[in-house]
């Protein structure tokens, strides 16, 4: 109780599912102390879905584990329905269920056996089981799959089974740690329906963490975390409403969208400028009117108001915290490629990849033009990573042709690989090496030497603002800086073609914007970019999209065209996610008809 001495804690009704008072947790990593959570005060309301929103490293999982009593607090107090977690952890654990990011399913047991196991572990009486099994299986749509091994389920089905196992003993407070990460949009919607159902029907309180900002709008209330600080809390509509009248679509005749975005980003009075299809989506600074936006060198700028989004507010809050706007990307346009300008950058014809009996990629064909940003979209297991790896020459194709800059990289001489840059999903860097040592290594690996090498390393240090971290060990860098370093390493040799595999997963919205600014500048300079992503809004930045499912191409086209195809009376203005889901539904409908 002494921790409470200096903070007033008025008595509250015990029905508050979760009360955080001055919650602080620090970790020591390699002699540095990191504050995972700093003095967080918050309360949640009963019978609602509370979203814990923030990018990777914000402290979401730490908070979840503290509430579940799996970590001990450094300072402060956490109460679950009025019970102190630090002193009565067992009692609290009786009231909650916690589904961690990677739920411990036994992959060699069937769906039914997993349910039985968790029922046994939670001591659910035999008599109650059949009723709750029926309900859980119905709710999760897993009823037809009870005898399937858990390891054979898709990512989304695994998450649903994990949720079912968590719910075998219905808790008063349900903790879900990023249940939708790595799950395709269709399964994401289904998971949300289950969560909504739980809250409405069973009156459960839910604390759900997510890094997807669009999911915040589905929560009843949100807690915004950033770098261990609570930067906002309340109803998501209230957040979005504060941005009313500040969001616009911008068009300017004769100005390419990327150029327009670059100019607008640097224009005073603009908080945020993003490419959305053929337009640039603008968020203005507070108190700025559309008329005052005068980007230099652009005439005839037309702004039409659009509905604000939750992400706008988050970016606004982060900008307010960080102060400065990111500088405009200054990547020099690469010189190469002029002689081969007429040749397609990437050509894929009837490409097939089989692993044993399983066909991961099934007879796909597409062409990527030079200087284009080309997006490869799809759920987990759709075959986009396999396609990506075949293009990079990391995996042999079973059949079909593929040419990157005129070469099949699997067979071509090593020098042919010198034309492409590659940035992997996990920002593959040598964690034990310093920033400078990583840059030196990749410069040498691409055959740069002497003055040229020094010049490029200096370019990387200044362009990506890595100079202050030059001697820092890469492993200890913040995620956003790891991403910058990975991109710097991939661009060391000024490639003509850049491969990006989910390049922005987990980084905060500001870092994502900065990253895309650089990519846009590269594309303007003639670099061809092939990117895979599961952020549907990032698909909007691409010139051309391929949507894959079950190894096949469902649709190709611009994001505008794809969205247009999904338009209906029920959905007059579909988002990219709506378009994606419509395509998947149409596909599975066809399959059933066939």
């Amino acid at each position: 109780m002494f921790a409470m001495a200096n903070m007033p804690a008025p008595p509250e009704p015990a029905a508050t599912p979760l009360r955080l008072a001055g919650v602080t947790k620090r970790f020591r990593i390699a002699k540095r102390e990191i504050t995972a959570l700093g003095d967080v005060h918050a309360e949640t309301s009963p019978g609602l879905v509370t979203g814990l929103i923030g990018p990777d490293g914000a402290g979401k999982t730490t908070l979840m584990r503290l509430v579940a009593g799996l970590l001990s607090l450094d300072e402060g107090r956490i109460e679950v329905f009025g019970t102190d977690v630090s002193t009565e952890a067992l009692k609290v654990q009786g009231m909650i269920s916690y589904m961690p990011q990677r739920f411990g399913l036994y992959e060699d047991l069937t769906v039914q056996e997993n349910l039985d196991l968790y029922a046994d572990l939670n001591g659910v009486p035999q008599a109650d089981r059949s009723a709750s099994y029926t309900e859980l299986l119905h709710m999760t749509g897993l009823a037809p799959f009870t005898s399937r091994l858990a390891g054979r389920l898709s990512g989304g089905m695994k998450q649903k089974l994990g949720l079912a196992c968590t719910l075998i003993r219905p808790p008063r407070l349900l903790l879900l740690d990023e249940p939708t990460v790595g799950v395709d949009p269709v399964s994401r919607r289904e998971l949300w329906q289950i969560v909504d159902h739980l809250v409405r029907q069973a009156g459960m309180s839910v604390l759900l963490s997510t890094a997807y900002l669009d999911e915040a709008e589905r929560c009843d209330e949100v807690l915004l975390l950033h770098e261990g600080q609570l930067i906002g809390s309340g109803q998501p509509e209230a957040f979005t409403q504060t941005m009313a009248g500040r969001s616009f679509h911008a068009h300017a005749p004769g100005v390419p969208k990327r150029a327009l975005q670059a100019v607008l980003t640097a224009t005073p009075g603009v908080t945020d400028a993003l490419i959305q299809g053929e337009a640039v989506r603008l968020v203005l600074d507070e108190g700025t009117t559309p008329e005052t936006i005068q980007p230099p060198g652009v005439s005839g700028l037309a702004l039409s108001p659009v509905a604000p989004r939750f992400e706008d507010r988050f970016v606004d809050l982060l900008r307010a915290q960080n102060g400065a706007k990111p500088r405009a990307a200054l990547s020099p346009p690469p010189s190469g490629g002029s002689s081969t300008a007429m040749r397609a950058a990437i050509e894929v014809a009837h490409l097939t990849k089989r692993f044993g009996a399983f066909t991961a990629v099934d007879d796909i064909s597409f062409t990527v033009k030079r200087g284009e940003i080309f997006g490869l979209l799809g759920a987990n297991g759709a075959g986009k990573s396999t396609t990506f790896r075949m293009l990079c020459g990391l995996l042999p194709a079973t059949g079909g042709q593929l040419k990157v800059d005129g070469y099949d990289l699997r067979r071509a001489a090593a020098a042919a690989r010198g034309r492409l840059g590659y940035m992997a999903q996990k920002f593959s860097l040598y964690g034990d090496l310093s920033v400078l040592q990583n840059l030196h290594f990749f410069a040498a690996a691409y055959g740069l030497r002497g003055a040229r090498r020094n010049e490029r390393i200096n370019w990387a240090l200044s362009e990506f603002e890595l100079a202050p971290f030059a001697d820092a060990t890469s492993r200890d860098l913040p995620l956003g800086f790891k991403q910058r370093l990975a991109l710097a390493c991939a661009l060391m040799h000024e490639p003509d073609i850049l491969f990006l595999d989910e390049p922005t997963s987990g980084v905060d919205p500001l870092a994502r914007r900065e990253f895309w600014q650089r990519i846009n500048a590269l594309a303007e300079g003639g670099v061809t970019v092939l990117v895979t992503t599961h952020f549907m809004d990032e698909a909007e930045y691409c010139d051309h999209l391929v949507i894959m499912a079950q190894g096949r191409i469902l649709a190709t086209g611009t994001s505008e065209a794809l969205k247009h195809a999904a338009r209906s009376s029920a959905l007059p203005d579909p988002t990219m996610e709506d378009a994606f889901i419509a395509l998947i539904h149409a596909d599975s409908g066809q399959e059933q008809a066939a």
């Binding site: 990391l394 690989r417 040598y430 034990d432």
Partner: protein, 369 residues
């Protein structure tokens, strides 16, 4: 081209040496192992506890007991007055041997008949039982020779004068510690190299270098040279300790020794890289390294002679680089072999190195899933 190779090698050393934990792993455990093996591993027996059941109780029998008690091999810990306790003493491992002198010992001795003495040993450890019997036999043989000489008896028909070349005292440390040179070099090289590709696979950096213009051969050299250097440096530390700390003579030429060590480390590096390319995680690589390590030590002749193994297993040892380097190291420490004498060992290790390194290089790309 050389610049790229150099960068790969520098990178490899930095990943191993920049982290204080992995630095410690390279220095600490091998030194501890060296000390433990160096002091603990020995075939020699000293201070074997034994009990005396002297039923004769004469000055002659006491002389015989004194011969045993005075030898550095044996240590008398009990005197028995009845046969009942013999079994319980051995069962409880308080003694390894009981010297049972018959009541007729003096009588038979003085009447020039063979005097009966019984030695009872604990046969549960057959190896040390044999050694104990051997030592006991030596003591009794020399005692009876002594007796014959002083009592004008007939000299024995032939007298065995044995002289051991290279290890005159047959000190088993001289046999075992040079073996540790090979053992520790193998352990360290296998761990350093075996984890290196798997670690990069886990971190995704292996893909990253596969998409650079580096060729598989560059990567192979870049991966194996650091392992080779680290293995040789560790080996040298053990060689120095063997000579200067454990006082094992180093008679042979360093050139012969290091030719063998180099070829051995190259072969082990190749095997380590093969294991590493097959593994997708560091855990698998570690498991693979141990799956190779244990049989390779047993099949090397490190502790038990290869000649004692079944013929089929003896053929299997041909694939084991450690088998050959043990010959080289032991010969070089205790003898003065010429290059020609060691050529079969060198050739075998060189062949193993070529095959395993080539296979590893092929697996790099093959196993890129």
């Amino acid at each position: 081209m050389l610049a790229r190779l150099l960068a790969l090698i520098v990178k490899e050393f930095l990943t191993i040496l920049r982290d204080s934990k992995s630095r410690a792993v390279l220095i600490g455990p091998p030194l501890i192992q060296l000390m433990v093996f160096g002091y603990a591993a020995s075939f020699d027996l000293n201070h074997v506890p034994f009990a005396v059941y002297d039923q004769d109780q004469s000055s002659y029998s006491r002389d015989l007991v004194a011969d045993f008690a005075g030898s550095p091999t044996f240590q008398q810990v009990a005197v028995l007055h009845s046969p009942e306790r013999i079994r319980s003493l051995i069962d409880s491992r308080k003694v390894d041997m009981v010297l049972d002198i018959d009541p007729r010992y003096t009588r038979d001795l003085l009447t020039n008949r063979p005097a009966p003495v019984q030695i009872i040993v604990d046969g549960r450890n057959s190896n040390s039982a044999l050694l104990i019997l051997g030592y006991a036999n030596d003591i009794i043989t020399s005692a009876s020779e002594e007796w014959s000489k002083s009592h004008g008896g007939v000299a024995p028909l032939a007298r065995l004068v044995s002289r051991a070349l290279y290890n005159p005292n047959l000190d088993s440390h001289w046999f075992i510690i040079p073996g540790i040179v090979a053992l520790l070099t193998q352990v360290i090289t296998l761990l350093v190299v075996g984890l290196s590709v798997a670690r990069e696979r886990e971190a995704g950096t292996f893909d990253q270098i596969l998409v650079t213009p580096l060729r598989p051969l560059d990567i192979l050299i870049g991966k194996s040279l650091p392992g080779l250097v680290i293995g040789l440096v560790e080996g040298s530390v053990v060689i120095l300790a063997t000579h200067f700390w454990f006082d094992v003579p180093l008679e042979g030429g360093l050139a012969q020794l290091y030719t063998g060590m180099f070829l051995f480390t190259a072969a082990v590096t190749g095997i380590g890289l093969m294991i590493s390319s097959l593994a997708t995680t560091q855990q698998q690589a570690l498991l693979g390294a141990f799956l190779f390590m244990v049989p390779s030590i047993i099949l090397s002749g490190f502790a038990t002679p290869i000649a004692n193994m079944p013929v089929a297993v003896q053929y299997l040892t041909w694939l084991n680089p450690m088998r050959y380097v043990l010959d080289v190291v032991r010969d070089c420490f205790l003898g003065q072999p010429s290059f020609a004498m060691l050529m079969p060992d060198y050739a075998a290790m060189a062949a193993l190195a070529c095959v395993s390194l080539a296979a590893a290089g092929w697996l790099f790309r093959k196993r890129a899933v």
